[in-house]
Amino acid sequence: MLEHVTPKPLPDVDLPTLKQVGKPLRRVDALGKAVGATVYAADFAMPNMLHAKVFRSPFPSARIAKLDVETARALPGVACVMTGEDTHGAKLNTDLPGQTGRAARAGSDAPVLASDIVRYVGEPIALVAAESIAIAEQALRLIEVEFEELPAVFDPEDALRPDAPILFEPDNVVAKYAIRKGDLAAGMADADLVVENTFTMPFIEHAYLEPDAGVAWVDEQGVINIRVCTQVVEHFRSIARALNVPQNKIRIRGTMVGGGFGSKEDVTVEIFLAFLARETGRPVKLEYTREEAFAATSKRHPFVVTHRTGVKKDGRITASEIKMVADSGAYPYLTPYVLLYATGMAAGPYKVDNLHVDSVAAATNQTFTSAFRGFGGPQAALGYEQQMDEIAKTLGLDSLEVRRINYLKRGETTTTGQEVKSAAWSEECATRAVHALGDRAPSTETRRIGRGMASYFQSYGRIMWFHDTSQAWVGLEQDGTVVLRCGVPDIGAGQSNSICQIAAELLGVPLERVTIYSTDSAVTPLAGTSTATRQLYMSGNAVTLACNEIRSRLLKRASESLGVAEEALDLGESRVFAISDSSKAIDLPDLAKLCASEGIGLSHLAQFNAPFTDGLDPETGQGDIWPDFTFGAHAVELAVDTETGEIELLKSAACHDVGRAINPAAVRGQICGGSHQGLGYALMEDFELKDGYIQTPSFAEYLIPTVLDFPTTDAIILESGTGVGPFGAKGIGEPALTPAAPAVANAVADALGVRIHDLPLTPKRILDAVQRSGRKDDGTAE
């Protein structure tokens, strides 16, 4: 299987040659990081600064019977101790992060500090600010608290049973969706065969390098400044609401983020810092330990996904019935949207005309789940891609062939009936990823070689009824250098570099001549969240709009000076020149000075609005959700030791149509990093909870892949130029992860001849499967 595959020829694409975009330039953020000049959130201190600590629940479900902080308050060196009483029952507004959105979901937002009931181990109960960390920790030990343990539930399917303990009235249902497309019964009746499988996936920790941290202070205007690592500077609004202060009295100064992967999309330390800075009037620092970052922040949702698929003998899908159950943990956070993403992509990049999807997320007394790179997409892909291989196996067909005849094409519609308007290069990507594996290594009796691949499609850009916007300000200085102001948080994926490279392209200057100021909710124009693979699309387009305005002013003025029509001029190498005769030119500094003397403004604030839609049909779940989709595939070859259960990943190749690679080195970085994360999801990562208690509290127990564990993924970048981002770019940040785990699962099933339906694929599970496959080895030497 998956051998001798020829890459499908690419359609003709005529991409313009560009000067800065499309080149693997050194990223604008690289040098500062390399030499240690970048001041991350935890690297910052202020005079007279206090240190904060958080008192957290040791129980998964309990009533706080008594909470007495007077002894802690009396400890010398303690500036303040705050409880839910002091925060006046303020709640996190976890719904709709960002600057837009119409209505907040009714519900069960998490309290900033629990004062009555605690619903998971690690839930915050009290805050301490003291002269030193040691004193703050001592004060935590002086907090007197009595709990009455309450009934608890730890499994989402249990949580949906009628007798389950209820986390929030009326029931544990956090979100629920139904898709009704075509005629399921007719499609099933038309099928030659029905294939049914259930797949499960565990909690996953983001495992970013940088534990959450920040410093807050109140300035001379009474503005609460919070310097914090976050993916969302627009949380200033929900923080203002929680503190009951005007929104212009909270300023988030976002730092370079040492990895977020979705976890820093939720409010973390910043709301505690805001309360403590206001309460004490002094600068306060809060830095989570690694164990605290594990216990106090979100996880990837565990899912149970069942596919029941009707197929013809040739592999064509006639109908599909999909059920999904997701674990929301103790509070909703972004669960309703993660579930919507999984639901809306449930059938994968395949044309399925007769389709039912029923999905539900349930609350349990466990660490809450929220955004994580892929946002439900990877869980959906683990369902549909393992199912595609099972269909092929049941029918005795080649798995790539079964995919090929079902792939969604441009102009056809997704799970929710949304038309795919950009290139859908599933087959182009799949054949290239498999081809890149080369020759298959030979199996031995106890070292079975397996190959697997997975296709996927994944949205980029936010849900369109969120009415997403981004702003960017661009200015040309008189020496021909460029200043960019944009509120984009840079979480390490090159968000700021991409928009600098676009500005350099459009204004005709080298990348080194662009300086960016970013991530400040008060002084940089708001660009929205660094989530949903949206920054290149949204802020890239905003920067493009701003640059094009300045560019047209420059060309107009240059046209007058040079006596050449605007259309016959171009910008490059810091000058405006005639395309036909580059000796007819004016240097940018000269042109900028000329404009300045004549009052021609060379700065511009632009706003890009994503398409606005109204949401899905409540009856059928049909409608448009996202601006566009990225398509691609991942293929792996691995060896399974059938005696020890060990897996050695031998080859990994990924091919994605990124529309246009703004910086190919950065794209490659995203693909290699994203695939490593996805491979770890399949093979070792497992955030274990037992009866609500964390079993993997640190990196000693929670294993993520090291550089030695997997080969570097061969990243194959295709450019259809059809995306809705600048220069036809699509998004790659989240998509890079999505197909890796199902490709591994399929390769293991290929190697063993039986499927393991649960992740991760540990030696224990491998050996159980070997036993099932009847290939149990008695240990005799050959």
Binding site: E137, G645, K764, G779, A781
Partner: protein
């Protein structure tokens, strides 16, 4: 953060032993790779840590007749870079290569690895097949105890609270003996063993096994020898049937936790592979 404690650096071994004996809640510390984690988490609440790794009596690797004495303060990195360990105790060298990661190997000590007695301590199976003894000292005197007896239960040893491990003593295996070590974990570096196996076999000129030692870690509450399997091999050539039986017996000697029974299968496979390798090598030598 780390809580406050006294950090004591004694001038001599006698000072160190006196400090440990007389200071309440004093813990000896060398590499600290286990202890400091527990101190930080609050699991261990010391009033004092007594630095011992640097003491002369705990340092260095030396040969005494047919024995090699490894100071308890020897780091895993020092074991790895010592030519005598590599050439004469290759099974211990191999175990050291799989130990955690470079950073931890630079700090962690052989004495600390044994004193901590995690079920997955990587040096334990290797030292068990080398028939190691642990040398202990306290203000009450010195004693030497076989490693099997030293390791009692998970994270427990016979070391008294006022005792210090001075050194680990092993007999150098005969020149013809062949030692092997293999570790299985969930990733290639920086992880705790799921199963560790060490074997050391000696043969006479006819290819008859005259001494056999097999030990495993992480598959039982404490690292242990598989004496039945050893007996199966001694007095016989290393034929496939013997290998199979020894592997089965080793697997049966494993006592994994409930739910981890698969480890017996892993032990069986690892022992089979190691013995197969030795059989091949022995054949090569004779051939």
């Amino acid at each position: 953060m780390l809580p406050m404690f006294d950090y004591l650096k004694p001038r001599s071994l006698d000072d160190a032993l006196a400090l440990i004996a007389t200071t309440p809640k004093a813990f000896p510390i060398a590499g600290g790779t286990n202890l400091l984690v527990d101190v930080r988490s609050g699991k261990v609440q010391p009033e004092a840590l007594v630095e011992v790794g640097f003491l002369d009596e705990l340092c260095g690797i030396r040969k005494e007749g047919g024995e090699i004495v490894i100071g308890a303060g020897t780091t895993i990195a020092e074991l790895l870079s010592d030519p005598m360990i590599e050439s004469q105790l290759p099974v211990l060298h191999a175990a050291s290569t799989t130990f955690a990661n470079t950073l931890i190997r630079n700090r962690a000590t052989i004495g600390g690895n044994l004193a901590n007695n995690a079920p997955c301590a990587d040096t334990a199976p290797a030292l068990l097949v080398l028939d190691a003894s642990v040398e202990l000292a306290s203000v009450r005197g010195k004693r030497s105890i076989k490693l099997e007896e030293f390791l009692t239960s998970p994270f427990e040893t016979v070391r008294a609270v006022d005792e210090l491990i001075l050194a680990v003593r092993v007999s150098v295996p005969p020149r013809a003996a062949i030692g092997r070590f293999r570790k299985m974990g969930l990733r290639k570096i920086s992880c705790m063993a799921k199963v560790d196996v060490a074997v050391l076999l000696d043969f006479n000129s006819e290819g008859i096994c005259v001494d056999a030692r097999i030990a495993m870690g992480a598959a039982s509450p404490v690292a242990r020898r598989a004496v039945d399997a050893e007996a199966t091999l001694v007095g016989n050539p290393l034929h496939p049937e013997r290998i199979r039986r020894a592997a089965d017996q080793t697997a049966q000697a494993a006592v994994p936790r409930p739910g981890s029974e698969y480890k017996q299968q892993v032990v069986r496979s690892m022992v089979t592979k190691l013995l197969d390798d030795i059989a091949r090598e022995g054949g090569d030598r004779r051939g």
